[in-house]
Amino acid sequence: MRDLKFPRDRVAAHISALPRSGIRDFFDIVCTMDDVISLGIGEPDFVTPWRIREATIYALDKGHTNYTSNLGMLALRQACCRYVADHFGPSFNPETECIITVGVSEALDLVLRALLNPGDEVIYHEPCYVSYMPSIKMAHAVPVAVATTAEQGFRIQPEQIEAAVTPKTKVLLLNYPNNPTGGNLSWDDKVAIAAIAMKHDLVVVSDEIYVELTYAAPSPSIATVPGMEDRTVFLHGFSKAYAMTGYRIGYACGPRDVIEAMMKIHQYSMLCACGFAQEAALEAFTGAFSEMEIMREEYRQRRNVITKRLNEMGLTCRLPEGAFYVFPSIEKTGLSAYDFAMRLLAEKRVAVVPGTAFGPCGEGHARCSYATSLEEIETAMSRIDEFLKEL
């Protein structure tokens, strides 16, 4: 038998030290079961609008199967910058301040690697998307998590940031509307946070992948706060709003030096994002806005229903302001988030993600996605109700 300890530990120490994603463990269990209603899915249940799929087929038909510019097709970058300026405020130069990436996940990895020296600190808020802490560590930097709470609407508080800043802090990573909590920042929050970023010379990386899925009028991006244009990297993509998860197209807009640095890494590691997927993304801008609005309206209505049902059962939660997740408190069950999720799955065949998958402060919560049909949501709610009564 081979001894894997000999002659040496082959896996890099900082990778060995990364925990496996809590979602991954859960996924492995769910996959072995039948008749599961899953509220654990972080992607739209809509299929990509046909006009986008049709544009993909057309691109293939024309033989557009080559590399594109490292930064991505100029026409797409132009469309991205125009869209960002029109909808979220900040204005970027498509030639030098925008890069098309393989989903926002790659954009996040690029921006962290481009900005961080070993030992630099990154402040971010938990509960948060599962990749933030690992991505920071993979960039050899130090993650500094700040816990947000339901009472604060899961909005990171300026005082918390101020308290977490050290001379080594370089980046503040924000994700609003937020996965997994559905929380969002107001304009006043953004102004207050921006003041701290400017005071301590921080770069703000703003992951706004869910920004279209905002159910009240969204406030402009933090990049539009005066003084922030040169220190904000705006991350966005097509996956959530246009139901294009599998296309893997995201983009980053930011100061020229940062985009240039990101481009270097992207060029040597990824070369470019898939060309015909880029053409499909361009079509999303051209004619799919109304289809996105129809999907958003459906999410809004499901949100109303699921939030009401959960609160009626005593799993209290605020009405989510954005994204397609609700993050109820399960404290009244007396169970840990992990036990709650495991028992609900085993006893009632409903999958939710334990809040702790999104950071330790997610304890006492479960993430329920409403990117699933209302019929399934209603069945899941009935099963959860039974589960609570049998506890």
Partner: protein
Amino acid sequence: METNEMRHAIVKLLQSNARMSAREIADRLSMQEAEVTSLVTAMERDGTILGYCAMVNTDAMDDDETRAIIEVEVQPERDGGFDRVARTIGRFREVQAVYLVSGRYDLRLEITGQSLREIAFFVASKLAPIDGVKSTATHFLLKKYKEAGFMLDKEEEYARLKVSP
């Protein structure tokens, strides 16, 4: 939401699913169930909501219902334009829909009948002789692919991962 906004939102939901319960509508729109019921009743009374019907894939049933689209050229009248002829046509039970349209012809009808013969007979004996009807062109429906927003061939569903971040 203002009342008018509510009415629009309710109608939109009923158009997507006429059997949607008042409770579901209320929950989706964050309204009270009683409020939904009273608005729907009011819309039924004032003629905003004319009725509720099922979307049926007739190919999946054994009956031999035949349908046709008929283009009608009409001589408009000095008083009332196309209205008198359109209303006269619309009164026939066989006629499911009457639209005044722009283009080559004037009225577009949708007709159902038991057979090709029945529809042909209707056109010859009832429709064509109406005073003001100049000509008709009958197109029998051969196959339906999409109706009222529904594709008749269900697309195969592609399974998503059961849990994802």
